[in-house]
Assembly symmetry: C2
């Protein structure tokens, strides 16, 4: 069972926790996909992890090389428009947190679990 | 649409991204619940957010007052045992990231979405 050592790192994370309301799924999905496509082309973009349960609670974490990089993405006009739409139509609540990642470690099973 | 201002903060987050394998759901769920119960009684625990999609990709973010508080939780023996079980039985892969939260802002809809 390979485990990476606990490593010092220095990059940034944006933790976005959001509760979806019902409906408007097609427009939401299209915009969400577009934002990943657009964001991943930004300078300093390192990656994104996103998941949502059947009750509509989603957590998306995007990773950025510097704080300036994530702030630049926050201000991109098409992204700003999506944020407005998120508040008016899609989310009943959300919290965005900006955090500096200082350490990380990983595990990957050598054999797939059943 | 109330939106909180972008606020400076200073606390810590543990971002745990994990892919579940199949099976052993009862034991997994019982342990996951027990870890939330145990962890939330630790000194410096501020909160936890967790979600998992139908494909088994989960993101759990726990929040802590200081880095020492989250390190103390990492070393609690029952939690260490759960981590071992996670590697042997439950997760095909995971990454844990420790991050210092520097800013946050929230939104809550005044009227529930349909």
């Amino acid at each position: 069972m390979p485990r990476t050592p606990d490593e010092q790192t220095d990059y940034w994370a944006v933790i976005f926790t959001a509760q979806r309301g019902d409906g408007d799924d097609d427009a939401y999905e299209a915009t969400a996909e577009r934002m990943v496509e657009l964001g991943s082309r930004m300078q300093g973009f390192l990656g994104i992890e996103s998941t949502r349960n059947v009750e509509g609670l989603g957590i998306t974490v995007s990773y950025w090389r510097t704080e300036d990089d994530l702030l630049a993405w926050k201000r991109v006009s098409e992204h700003v428009a999506a944020q407005v739409k998120g508040r008016s139509d899609w989310y009943s609540r959300y919290t965005t947190r900006v955090a500096r990642v200082t350490r990380e470690y990983s595990f990957r099973a050598t054999e797939p679990l059943e």
